[in-house]
């Protein structure tokens, strides 16, 4: 076996296998990032593309270092709008992740405890929404949440709301939370389910046998052992929610400030590509911390699984 592994043709084919994803990342992630990164040091110009040219090579970078414009980054820290947008995104991402955990954990737990025969069906139901367009599903929430929408009608019908009262959450942050929790729920449930499903039931029996009540056993056995799933699910949701654009744009109205929308406005409305690039670069830097944490955790979990 080890002989076969070290033989030359085999080794090359192994490099080839690894090369494909790296090449993919290089072309579709690193290259665009370098372009954006360069752009963020430029200034706007009435041209096509709408910014002044910047360095082309690394040696070029040294010679033209003085010409680089850090103005965009200075601008970002100066203008309270951007700081507020970043902070607001951070807050919405944190709060949504907590909501997602609160909603997702019981669902994942119930799925893991369900009879083995119906688990595939439950799994299917979690994944099913992916079969329709994300955009359409968010639009559907407009129909539900708007003042004269389905939710109002339903609550009026049940009698919780009077005939002239309306639900006032559309175009507020609450509508954004509803949209985010709905859209990201599968990303929270699946890693949680994976962690909970692996849990050995005899551990809970052992805990009970040793005098631990079932509710306490959940907190001292089940929850700690599902932490890798909690962490994976949280990061899997938190990171994309930080940069979320569609949901706050469609459901949050003008009052909801999120960095993704700011970015879009700078890019397409103000046509300030360099500033938009700076916003994007900074967003990435903010996200690098949780991404690295997540990778670390994932590596640790893998190590443990061995």
């Amino acid at each position: 076996m080890s002989d076969a592994r070290s033989s030359a043709p085999n080794r090359y084919s192994r490099y080839l296998v690894v090369a494909v994803p790296y090449l993919w990342l290089l072309v579709f992630f690193l290259a665009p990032f370098v372009i954006i990164f360069k752009m963020s040091f430029s200034t706007t110009a009435i041209a096509m593309p709408p910014y002044t040219p910047v360095f082309e090579t690394l040696s070029d970078l040294w010679t033209r270092f003085s010409e680089l414009s850090f103005e965009n980054y200075v601008w970002l820290t100066d203008d309270a709008l951007y700081i507020r947008a970043y902070l607001s995104s951070l807050r919405i991402a944190v709060v949504s992740t907590i909501f997602l955990l609160m909603v997702g954990y019981p669902i994942a737990y119930a799925m893991a405890k369900a009879p083995t025969s119906i688990r595939p069906t439950l799994m299917m139901m979690v994944i099913l929404p992916f079969w329709t367009s994300f955009l359409i599903r968010v639009y559907a929430w407009i129909g539900i949440l708007k003042p004269e929408g389905l939710l109002t009608v339903a609550l009026q019908f049940v009698g919780i709301l009077g005939p002239d009262q309306q639900v006032r959450i559309f175009n507020t942050e609450w509508a954004v939370y509803v949209g985010i929790v709905y859209s990201y729920l599968p990303f929270m449930i699946l890693p949680l389910y994976a962690a909970l499903e692996k849990l050995d039931g005899t551990l809970l029996e052992a805990a009970q046998d040793l005098g631990c009540r079932p509710i306490k056993a959940f907190w001292v056995i089940t929850f700690p052992l599902s932490l890798p799933g909690v962490i994976a699910g949280s990061f899997l949701c938190f990171i994309p929610i930080m940069g979320e654009f569609v949901i706050p744009d469609l459901l949050g109205g003008s009052s909801t400030l999120m960095i993704g929308r700011t970015l879009w406005t700078e890019f397409f409305s103000n046509r300030d590509w360099p500033l938009a690039s700076a916003v994007a670069v900074l967003l990435l830097l903010i996200l690098v911390v949780p991404i690295v944490l997540f990778q670390n955790q994932a590596a640790k979990a893998q190590e443990k699984g061995r």
Binding site: E205, A207, Q208, D209, C212, L225
Partner: protein
Amino acid sequence: MAKTLGPVKRSFAPWNDPAAKPYIQYQGITKRFGDFVAVDRLDLTIYEREFFALLGPSGCGKTTLMRMLAGFEDPTEGRILLDGQDMAGIPPYRRPTNMMFQSYALFPHMDVVENIAFGLKQDKLPKGEIDARVQEMLKLVKLEPFAKRKPHQMSGGQRQRVALARSLAKRPKVLLLDEPLGALDKKLREETQFELTDLQYELGMTFIIVTHDQEEAMTLADRIAVMDKGRIVQVATPAEIYEEPNTRYVADFIGNINILEAGVTATGAGRTRLAAEGVAAAIEVERDCPVPVGEKVFFAIRPEKMRLSLDEPADTTVNALTGEVWDIGYLGDVSIYHVKLDDGPVIKATMTNATRVVERPITWHDRVWLTFARDAGLVLAA
């Protein structure tokens, strides 16, 4: 240690004492899972300080019986008394029993000390007492150097010790052991068996062990209950189970045995005369016959209770079988000979390899005689 235990253990036989107070009582227990009857109208009494084994093949209901005592399953019918108290409706976390699980079920996110302390913490004992008890347990199972290890950093044998220490830490009234040595290799298993009996004697606790390994049950237990299809077939000491099995099932399950179908030709006080198919000689057994003359019974004899010889015995009319050696199994300490009777079945007989002669005097295709004493065999009705 074991030497001083011997006489003490021999004198321990509360099951023969009508005045002895039962400690654990299963009364008319039935357990059904849907249509499947796991335990069928079963009665069983276990005494305090007894090391009791539930023995049987997988699916015979032995584990269910134990889990009902631990509280993980509720009996469909009947009741279980522990120390006089009806266990019905008492949840597992309030029962004075602790269980050592087959998979050990150690908490993977806790180290050895935390695992052992878990049960004590549930009782909200003061910290000093918990620490003292944990140290005592670590010493008992000789795991002091591993106190801070996590389960995945330990060998199977060490994990087994942690599981044992954890289940003993609360000093339960009854310790339940579910196939406790199943995951260990043979050598370690034998060592651990003796340690377990010593431990049980030292602690003076009642132990119940579930196992499918007859050797394990024989080594460990004061009494064994042999189970089959949800019922108990026989409850007796290891020696009684081996020497006086009450059915073919028990005889066959414990050790090696030859069973011949035979007709009863004559009976008398303490003696029975049989005629077995394919056997020219009559079989005489110094035992009462359970059925009248003319009925069918089973003659059972263990391989080590027969003499194997190349020479024709003086009396070939009683308790003498003849045939050809078909197969020889050399096991080191003994050799097993498979002898095909002339018109009958294959009989197994063992010979102790007392000398270091590599060339055996009896070899394949030899014509041999098998003889046995009148008290060597058994007459079984079923």
